[in-house]
């Protein structure tokens, strides 16, 4: 579910088909630099109503890193 949301947002950012993005792809392979990642996360934070802390941001290198991080934050929000 969150994986779909993340892939959709990345495909919006890259203006490409979501089918071209898989969870194991590196952000730099996709041509996403740090500013691109900030922008994508900004949109996802809004959609999911969570905040990714700055100290986690630098370790988000693969699409799935973002998925896992957002799943954790969303789960914490529900259980909290």
């Amino acid at each position: 579910m969150i994986q779909d949301t993340v892939i959709k947002e990345i495909s919006n950012h890259l203006r490409c088909d979501a089918g071209q993005i898989s969870p194991d792809m590196r952000l730099d392979e996709l041509g996403i630099d740090s500013l691109g990642a900030i922008t994508i996360l900004y949109e996802l934070e809004d959609q999911l109503d969570v905040e990714v802390p700055n100290n986690v941001f630098d370790s988000l290198n693969v699409v799935n890193d973002i998925v896992v991080q957002l799943e954790q934050l969303v789960n914490n929000k529900v259980s909290g």
Binding site: D33, S34, L35, I38, Y42, N54, N55, F57, D58
Partner: protein, 403 residues
């Protein structure tokens, strides 16, 4: 090209409201980074170097304040100090012919944001009539001109965090071209507004505890506010009137990365340093000190260290390289002028300001960053680095006057 000297200094920042206070704090290795107070709870940035105790009415009459945004107030205060320090405050003949070139990264944001708050949020339909002349990015330059009687070329320069370095360079070029004998140059910024803080927060480069340039656990930059001004003077003019000189403004190097909007480029910043050395006629080995751009971000500090190695070769290991941003914060459009004041004083006093908060070298950071404690050392030549967002680089080389 003719010689240009620094003959007057002025500054106001979180370390002190005058140059002597600023220098004393730098020599004590005293960081002014502190928790932000009175900031909207929605702002996640927790620390900065604001001028909390600043009272504008100590410096200005009530009838002067309606036209003075906070960034203009700082500019006028430090300009007054610089002219007085040069012994020119009562010399209308010289001052009226001078240039004033003032850098700013943000402009009069306090004025703009107060206006937008009223319009967009409070539903007002009219705004304060002086909003435009008070908030325009060139307002500080105009206010400096008006308050000090400077009637030569006056304008503002914007190149983000290199604005005041570009202003210094522009003033030197005007003197060397023969257009003016004296130029007041520097920069100013007052970025502690709600909108700007939220914008910096979104960029994820601001630390939430402190600024530790070149350190293993560095966590980003810390914002500061204030202004710094320098009086530049042709060699002939300075000698004729017997002016005291802090240092010779011996060379300048500019470059643009033409690349990434925020990530510094080793090629671009190396080129600016090399050009400054060439312009000054300096061998790399003649330099003892670099006042680094040293923001405390992961990317800047590694790129700057790599560039120093590339430009200085084996001599890099003998250089002292410190970031005073660890103490006064990143004052954006005022940063490079504030740091040039520190560099000029390092030369004239034979004392090198330290990098505060240094907690051990980060990966790829292997220079002598003068950690913690100021160091006594004769400085014959020094560089002051400024690398702005947008890839705009400006490096200034100073020489001791007796070298």
């Amino acid at each position: 090209m003719g010689e240009v000297f620094i003959t007057g200094l002025g500054s106001i920042c979180g370390l002190g409201s005058t140059v002597p206070d600023y220098w004393a704090a730098l020599m004590a290795g005293q960081s002014a980074i502190r928790p932000l107070t009175g900031v909207d709870p929605g702002v996640k940035i927790r620390v900065g170097v604001p001028l909390d105790e600043f009272q504008a009415d100590r410096y200005f009459n009530v009838n002067e304040l309606p036209l003075l945004d906070r960034f203009s107030q700082f500019a006028v205060i430090s300009a007054r100090e610089a002219l007085a320090d040069a012994g020119l405050e009562d010399n209308a003949a010289i001052v009226s012919e001078a240039a004033a070139i003032i850098g700013t990264g943000c402009g009069g944001k306090q004025t703009d944001e107060e206006t937008y708050l009223q319009l967009y949020k409070q539903g007002r339909s009219r705004v304060y009539p002086l909003t435009i002349p008070k908030g325009m990015p060139s307002a500080a330059a105009s206010m400096v001109s008006q308050h000090l009687g400077i009637k030569g070329p006056v304008f503002s320069i914007a190149s983000a965090c290199a604005s005041s370095a570009h202003a210094v360079i522009q003033g030197r070029m005007m003197i060397q071209s023969g257009l003016v004998d004296v130029a007041l140059v520097g920069g100013t910024d007052a970025p502690f507004t709600y909108g700007l803080l939220k914008a910096w927060e979104a960029l994820r480069v601001v630390s939430n505890d402190t600024c530790r340039p070149f350190s293993i656990d560095r966590s980003g930059m810390v914002l500061g506010e204030g202004a710094a001004m320098l009086v530049l003077e042709s060699g002939e003019h300075a000698r004729q009137r017997g002016a005291r000189t802090y240092a010779e403004l011996a060379g300048c190097g500019m470059s643009s990365d033409a690349g990434h909007i925020t990530r510094p480029d080793v090629d671009g910043i190396s080129m600016a340093m090399t050009r400054a050395l060439e312009d000054a006629g300096l061998d790399a080995a003649a330099v003892q000190y670099i006042n680094a751009h040293g923001t405390g971000t992961v990317t800047n500090d590694v790129a700057e260290t790599q560039a120093v190695h590339r430009v200085f070769g084996p001599h890099a290991q003998s250089l002292m390289v410190s970031s005073t941003k660890s103490m006064h914060g990143h004052v954006l459009g005022a940063a490079s002028a504030l740091e040039l004041v520190a560099t000029a004083l390092a030369i004239s006093n034979g004392m090198v300001p330290p990098t505060a908060n240094f907690s051990g070298p980060g990966e790829g950071c292997d220079l002598d960053y003068v950690p913690g404690t100021a160091r006594e050392h004769r400085i014959d030549a020094a560089l002051s680095n400024a690398f702005a967002f947008g890839g705009l680089n400006a490096v200034i080389a100073l020489k001791a006057c007796d070298s």
